[in-house]
Amino acid sequence: MHWMAYAGFAIVLWGLNGLFMKLGTNRVSAQSMVIWVTAGFVVLLPFLWSGTTLAGLSASVIFVGLIAGTVNGLGNWAVFACLEKGAKASVAIPLTALYPLWTIVLATAFLKERPTSLQWIGIALAVAGGAMLSYEPAAAVASPEEQPHCVQ
C-alpha cells in the first residue's frame, strides 16, 4: 500500500481523536476520560504484543518507556481538563500539538542538541501561533457552566 494511504489513515484517526476528546469531556469528567482512554489503549495491547516482545530490552530502556507512558497519561489528563474547563477543540488541539517546542528545549538542555535554523523559525512560529490561538476577547469567553453540557 502507498505510504500516503497509511499517513492518511493516521491523520483521519488522530483528527477524529480531537473531536472524540471534546465529545467525551462534554459527558464525563477529565479524570474518567483518562481511565476510559487508557482502556482503549489496553484493548490494542494483545494486537501489539502479537507483533513484538519486550525481550532483549534493557531495564533502563523499559523504565524510560514506562515513565514516558506515565507522563503521556498525565498529558492526556491535562488536555481533557483543558477541554472540560471550556476550551474549544479547535483551539486546544492545535495548541497542545505544539508540545515539540518543549521537547526541543529539553533536548537542547539535556542532550546538548542544538536547534537548526529551521527549528528556530518553528519555535518563533509556535510561540506566536500559541499566543494567537489562546486569544479570546473577554466578551467571547464563556465559563464552563454557561456552556451546554452536551454538544451534538
Binding site: 484517526l13 480531537g18 467525551g24 459527558r27 530490552l57 524510560v64 515513565i67 529539553l106 466578551a139 452536551c150
Partner: protein
C-alpha cells in the same frame, strides 16, 4: 458582571500543563526509541499509563463516570490514537520520516474542520492566524 479585561483562562493553564507533559513524553520517547522499536515503545507507553489511570480512580474514590456516550468516546480516543500510531509506523516503513511526520502532523486541521462542522465552533481572526502559524511550526518541528 462581564468586564472587557482579558484574564488568563483556566483552560489555558491546563493546555500549558499538557504541553509540559507531552513535551517531556517526546523527550523520553526520543531517548527510549534509540534502543526500542516503535511497537515496543507503544506497549511500554500503554503499561506506563496504567498507574495514572489507577491514580485517577483512587482520586475519584472509584466513582467512575459511566455515561454511555462518554465511555464510548473515551475508549474510541484510546483506540483511534493507538491505531493512528500504527498507521504512522506503517507509513514510516514505506517512506522517510522527514516526509511522513510533517504530513501526519497536519491532523489538527481535520479536528478544526470537524469541530466547525459537528460542534459548530467558530474561531476569531486572530485564532485562525494562530492556527496557521501553529500548523506551520508543527510541520517544521516534524522535519
Amino acid at each position: 458582571m462581564q468586564t472587557d479585561r482579558w484574564h488568563f483562562p483556566v483552560w489555558l493553564w491546563y493546555a500549558l500543563l499538557c504541553i509540559f507533559w507531552w513535551g517531556l513524553w517526546g523527550f523520553l520517547s526520543k531517548i527510549g526509541s534509540a534502543a526500542a522499536s516503535p511497537l515496543q515503545m507503544q506497549i511500554l507507553f500503554t503499561l506506563g499509563m496504567l498507574p495514572v489511570a489507577v491514580g485517577m480512580l483512587l482520586r475519584m474514590r472509584w466513582k467512575l463516570d459511566r455515561d454511555r456516550g462518554g465511555v464510548i468516546y473515551g475508549i474510541l480516543c484510546g483506540v483511534a490514537t493507538g491505531l493512528g500510531t500504527l498507521g504512522y509506523y506503517a507509513a514510516l516503513q514505506e517512506q522517510n520520516v522527514s516526509l511522513v511526520t510533517p504530513v501526519t502532523g497536519l491532523f489538527p486541521v481535520l479536528t478544526v474542520v470537524l469541530a466547525f462542522v459537528v460542534l459548530h465552533e467558530r474561531l476569531n481572526k486572530v485564532q485562525i492566524g494562530g492556527m496557521l502559524l501553529a500548523l506551520a511550526s508543527i510541520v517544521i518541528f516534524s522535519i
